[in-house]
């Protein structure tokens, strides 16, 4: 059991998108069963840094606090994860009681302020790959298509992707030099291509996956699967989409747009 006096934090801060980043340390009185979010909440109730100076409270995003909304993702001791499920007792157990827990904003997205980032890029990627089922409309026209339980078993986990950005953060091929849309969006294509109605429009999505920044940018470093908080088998989904896009590319090459 850990029982230190303080939880010692080191936060990479930035007062606005163009300001220079700096590090600031905080010491928050220890309580059992805290998580990183509740430590940050303590700071805003009493915004004083480790040197005892009054400072602006740390700004970060959070919402559900149950690891289903994806908002509170940040680098905690260098690892991309949700700060709500980062339990301080476990961190101190893992890194040692005297560990200074470092918090940084994700590096693959523009920083708004402190730990708050702008992940619009990921939603734009969902637009790019047309991650939806093109139903005729939202009206009631009777029962939907049947779906084998077996398909549900592997497809449902993909639909739990909360667009948190961990996979993007860890992927060496997602960076300012490349246009790679990242593992999350590719996996979504597999989800919609598996749905009986979605499958009727497979090519519409595959076409997007073979454009610049598409699936060909995957270099099989496979970090995505390791860091996914929802344990989505991203590497298998990427491989399956490789197969689908190859088939699509081959068909296109041989038969044109038919």
């Amino acid at each position: 059991m850990v029982n230190p006096q303080f939880i010692h934090l080191k936060v990479k801060r930035r007062s606005n998108p163009t300001a220079a980043p700096y590090w600031e340390e905080f010491k928050v009185p220890y309580q059992p069963n805290m998580n990183v979010v509740s430590v940050l909440m303590e700071i805003r109730k009493n915004p004083i840094n480790a040197k005892g100076e009054k400072v602006d409270p740390v700004v970060w995003e959070c919402n559900c606090l149950e690891e289903v909304c994806g908002a509170c993702t940040m680098l905690i001791n260098g690892v991309p994860r949700q700060s709500c499920s980062a339990l301080t007792d476990k961190l101190l157990e893992q890194y040692g009681e005297n560990n200074v827990i470092t918090l940084e904003p994700l590096t693959k997205f523009p920083v708004i302020r402190d730990l708050m980032i702008d992940r619009q890029l990921m939603f734009d990627n969902l637009k790019k790959v047309k991650a939806w089922v093109p139903v005729d409309g939202s009206w009631a026209i009777g029962r939907g298509p049947r779906l084998a339980d077996k398909v549900h078993q592997w497809a449902y986990p993909i639909s739990r992707c909360m667009t948190c950005g961990c996979c993007m953060e860890a992927c060496p091929n997602v960076n300012s030099k490349s246009k790679f849309i990242g593992p999350a969006a590719v996996a979504q294509v597999r989800l919609f291509n598996a749905h009986p109605i979605g499958a009727m429009h497979k090519d519409m999505r595959l076409e997007q996956l073979v454009k610049k920044g598409g699936i060909q940018e995957c270099g099989n470093a496979q970090n995505c699967k390791r860091v996914c908080p929802k344990n989505i088998n991203l590497t298998a989904h990427l491989a399956a989409m490789n197969r689908q896009t190859n088939g699509y590319g081959f068909r296109q090459f041989l038969m044109g747009d038919k």
Binding site: Q222, A236, N242
Partner: protein, 217 residues
């Protein structure tokens, strides 16, 4: 309702995908196959050293259009793979020290070996193919290089890097072409590729050692 967003647009924008797939494909066919044949021919040094090797080379040279074959089947694919590969190496922002997972290191090593192999190949082809083409001279030059401990070491590094790049490339090839999809197949094939790397490296090193202990002509 306007379904503009759903329409399948014309497919003019997939050149990058096609190039990347070509880059992957030619590394195995024909380059990978060539490497295997090359090693197999080289292993003739185990039969009766210099003579059997020379006999084989001279026989190969009697094949028609050998230069054209060399250019089309070997040189152009390798040059394309190498040049485009540099661009791919440039695109990655490696983070193996941050994410120390096995596959991430493999990814990083694939890029490091890519650069080593590139330098090695330029040296290898220049010295043993372009500057001399007389079989006896070639083997003399090689034997000379391998008798010098420094160049011998460099040669070993070049060859082992090539074999790593080849074996790991075969593994990612299987993913890129959608052959290994599930966890199990990926795991099994990763082991197979690892074993392949060890065996083919040992095989290559054995050839080099054999040549290095052959008497200089």
């Amino acid at each position: 309702m306007n379904r503009e967003g759903d329409r399948v647009l014309s497919n003019k924008n997939n050149s990058n995908f096609m190039i990347r797939r070509l880059h992957s494909l030619i590394a195995v066919i024909p380059v990978g196959i060539f490497v295997c044949v090359h090693m197999l021919l080289n292993s003739s040094v185990f039969i009766s050293g210099n003579e059997s090797y020379l006999a084989l080379i001279n026989f190969m040279k009697t094949a028609p259009f050998v230069v054209i074959l060399e250019v089309v089947v070997i040189a152009i694919p390798i040059i394309f793979h190498g040049l485009y590969g540099i661009y791919i190496v440039y695109l990655a922002k490696n983070n193996a020290l941050k994410y120390t997972y096995y596959r991430n290191w493999a990814f990083y090593l694939q890029r490091i070996t890519a650069l080593i192999v590139l330098v090695f190949l330029i040296w290898h082809v220049w010295v043993l193919r372009l500057s001399t083409h007389e079989p006896q001279l070639v083997i003399n030059t090689l034997a000379g290089l391998l008798h010098n401990p420094v160049t011998f070491a460099l040669y070993i590094i070049g060859v082992v890097a090539s074999m790593y790049h080849f074996a790991n490339g075969l593994f990612t090839f299987c993913i890129t072409w959608g052959i290994c999809v599930g966890d199990r197949s990926q795991k099994v094939f990763a082991t197979v590729a690892g074993a392949f790397f060890v065996l083919i490296s040992l095989f290559a090193i054995a050839i080099l050692v054999k040549i290095s202990i052959m008497p200089l002509a």
